[in-house]
Chain length 622, copies 2
Amino acid sequence: MSLQPSEPAGTGSAGTKAAVNVAPAPDTVTTGPIFGSRKVYAAPKSHPHLRVPFREIALSDPKEPAVRVYDPSGPYTEDDARIDLRQGLPSIREGWIAGRGFSPVAGRAVRPEDNGNLPEDRVVEACPAHRTLRAARDGQMATQYEFARAGLITEEMVYVAHRENLAREAAVAGAAATLADGNSFGAALPEFVTPEFVRSEIALGRAIIPANINHPEVEPMAIGRNFLVKVNANIGNSAVTSGAAEEVEKLVWAIRWGADTVMDLSTGRNIHNIRSWIIRNSPVPIGTVPIYQALEKVGGDPVKLDWEVFKDTLIEQAEQGVDYFTIHAGVRLHHVPLTARRVTGIVSRGGSMMARWCLAHHKESFLYERFDEICDLMRRYDVSFSLGDGLRPGALADANDAAQFGELETLGELTKVAWAKGCQVMIEGPGHVPMHKIKVNMEKQLAECGEAPFYTLGPLTTDIAPGYDHITSGIGAAMIGWFGTAMLCYVTPKEHLGLPDRDDVKTGVITYRIAAHAADLAKGHPAAQMRDDALSRARFDFRWEDQFNLSLDPDTARRYHDETLPKDAHKVAHFCSMCGPKFCSMQITQDLRREAEAMLGMEEKSKEFMDAGGKLYVPAAE
Amino acid sequence: MSLQPSEPAGTGSAGTKAAVNVAPAPDTVTTGPIFGSRKVYAAPKSHPHLRVPFREIALSDPKEPAVRVYDPSGPYTEDDARIDLRQGLPSIREGWIAGRGFSPVAGRAVRPEDNGNLPEDRVVEACPAHRTLRAARDGQMATQYEFARAGLITEEMVYVAHRENLAREAAVAGAAATLADGNSFGAALPEFVTPEFVRSEIALGRAIIPANINHPEVEPMAIGRNFLVKVNANIGNSAVTSGAAEEVEKLVWAIRWGADTVMDLSTGRNIHNIRSWIIRNSPVPIGTVPIYQALEKVGGDPVKLDWEVFKDTLIEQAEQGVDYFTIHAGVRLHHVPLTARRVTGIVSRGGSMMARWCLAHHKESFLYERFDEICDLMRRYDVSFSLGDGLRPGALADANDAAQFGELETLGELTKVAWAKGCQVMIEGPGHVPMHKIKVNMEKQLAECGEAPFYTLGPLTTDIAPGYDHITSGIGAAMIGWFGTAMLCYVTPKEHLGLPDRDDVKTGVITYRIAAHAADLAKGHPAAQMRDDALSRARFDFRWEDQFNLSLDPDTARRYHDETLPKDAHKVAHFCSMCGPKFCSMQITQDLRREAEAMLGMEEKSKEFMDAGGKLYVPAAE
């Protein structure tokens, strides 16, 4: 794995000297498996050529089957990962896409403003990996939605079905299916995910597979209420330009810990070329907010934005392979006054830009007015919509107000337009919302937007804990995920305070994996509890290593344990330092259970209990 | 503030040398206000002699009133805190208790087994602070419950009423009252808390004021569904004996960040004498699990426990001033077989001891059989019951099972017995429970236990995140707090892995303050959102210092901000490093709002909006 320092175009042999001006960047990214896991690839019988990735956790007890978990981390976590950032990841979708008959296109020429009008010697080299650039013709099917509506099952749908099933084949036959006693609030989680089920969900607009035809490296994944709850992590370089490998490392780090998609919210110089490194090296869908780059192109003044520069930016990013665009077309002129008395006004960057634009020109938003054209453009590349919530509440006091719900109604209207145009759509939501106002957000979104997938930030359930907003929002995220949100946008501990560092990103992703998993459990996902059960059995059996390896973050679990009991012998000890050996309830219970096994009375009582149904979950009356 | 190294009894001048054998301990504890706050004392008009503590956060904008928050941290956070651990805290309740006519009693003599039969030269000195030891006679009213039932309003009730109101006097007249649009699931939060309301809640058994008549230092607080949600932190020395000041510091540290009560779960040597330091220096109610010490007295074998040693321990701890006892009287013989097929068996330490005892003797639990006597004993000191959930689930797979709910039914039966005996009672609950199974826990507890306050651990909403169980459980805690749980027992990041250190305790307390506050907001507590609104206004106005100071952890918020923008000038900057100056939505909105103010159309639209009710929360239809 290597990334050479950029050799600026046109500087000839002066290149290496000129590179001094470029921010020094590491030329490697994190590779290798998560401790205790190994990457495996599997295929459904019908499609033996597919290589669907999973992470497999082998356990030390021979009676315990290995646990297979969903794995968005890409080839980086292979045992012998061979990564060359200049080559990009393998184009696993190339054959599928090529088979769909798209015309290669020349593409838009890169312009100086794409990289912030930097002098040539400060432009970071673009990723040199070559890909065939494609676009659909008018009338040619291009999106997963169009294929699904036409009754066609794509390779992406087959891949997603196998990926979502985890070990569900076994679960259907075994005990796990009986554990699915959740409340899904009207979702329709299947016992087993078939390719036809995936097609049907996409055709109904209830799920999307964000996968630009110019992002052949993506490992297809689904976002929808009837699939596993997904997590998005944001990365970005803010105002200071980082090096390309540094940005790729942010991506690799986020997906290592479980981010299912990554939004690149970069706003600085070199934005175009750094994006090329990210996309060519990303196995997960990449989302962007194109208006951020459009703003750069007009010198930072939202009033100067116009359709031409925005359209140009959409084409630029669609050709690069961005999988979904946040489009703030729901912020309309008449919504703006509704924010006047808010405690925190408009807190979405895109939303505030569009509000400014509407008010300055006293005109309807050009995103709204040109929405048909935006759809036509995005359809050609199968870029999915993430309809932006420009008026999301930034304080509890502003939650569920007329501005927020007014915009949501507009997003519902736009969803139907995008579907009619053949596009895939998800809808952005929440922000700061107290617990008792969360559920109505989900209900209203389902009703207004025809069950298009909901994608929410948090929500943060209180405003008073900056520094801990991964937690204030993790509470809300778990709840809204349970109620039906398909993807949760993470919040890090630095929210409201500064740029997250590496540790913050990891904390944010793990917190949101907790929220997403808690939601899957509560919805009654048929396979979700298998991992919990395996970990709890390991815990009760004092298989410490298994407990660590089954956890969301084996490194931290092991480190915390070892702070007080570092010796290898303690990894099989029948106690931990929390209670010590004499007060370990699990040890007492194990002793007790052994005694009980020998006691006829206990055996008989157990038998009665088992005869009465033997279920762990029984009605409350004894 | 000072704590001299212990001078062991009977060693004369060899004392200082002998002290070498005692674990070295700091002789100070943390004092001084939380950054940006100051301690204030206030009194209701009717009782001008009371000194009810609050923490007041002054704001930099002269138009913004200071925000007064609930403050359990005691005198330690006074500006010029003068703490002498050897003297203990001021006995603020001494006059009230003395006025109730209790007889001074000689008390039980301390025995070698109380401190683990340590050789004399290794016994930590007991806290030398002298207090009059009291006990009620038969037939003499002693508990807050008895006073309340008799229609008497105690000083504790007056104190609690004023404490719970915060700035609620203002809120009733002002805007905050209209914000109380929560869903309290049948709770009856008043607009304003009167002493009579407190009395009535206690008389109904719906709230308790844990306050042993031998703990005159306690600042009275209420635990009940119609009061602010409270947080408990556990401290303890596990198997390794720490020094006395070190243990007091754990208490001081936990209440500094917001713990409302503290349970001392110590199990090692010197347990009696260290407890004396903790109680004499605690402004919050102290809870214990007496069976832990009883087990020490019988050499660690639960089978050897009996009524005599248990009763002796109750008297010992009640005389010391413990405010509430966890009593695992709900674990009955016939429940034990119900745990046989559980994934993690019995995970409560007390529960597993009693199960072991029942099974070994094949007899009904002596705690259950002697429950009347336990009540009579605890009533004499007004030690409140915390009826232990010895069969709480330790894994999602065991949640809400027959063992757990069978025990809860027994706890309901015991609640009525304890009330009939004049005792105050709360009920312990959850453990590991997925989100969709939380609500029924609350509903069943309310129904079975006659609305006695519920006090739950978490619940943890997934098993798969050791190292992050403050978060897995913070999600469940916020939800069950919303549903009606009166006090949340914190969980630290080290849960399942080891003993929490100082940072873990702080993280656990802050996480649970978030959960409790999120619950207060969702229940519609009339004053809860005032702090959120004040912080959000500070955020929108770029008053960074005010934002930090209003947060639950000003130190961390400030530190995170300063990592990227350390200069003083940045404390008034109209951006932060998350988005940078050009992309700050709040700055754009402020600009926009200024422009809007000058625009007639906007003004008029605003006016229409205000004329239509001017509420921030309006029906969804535009």
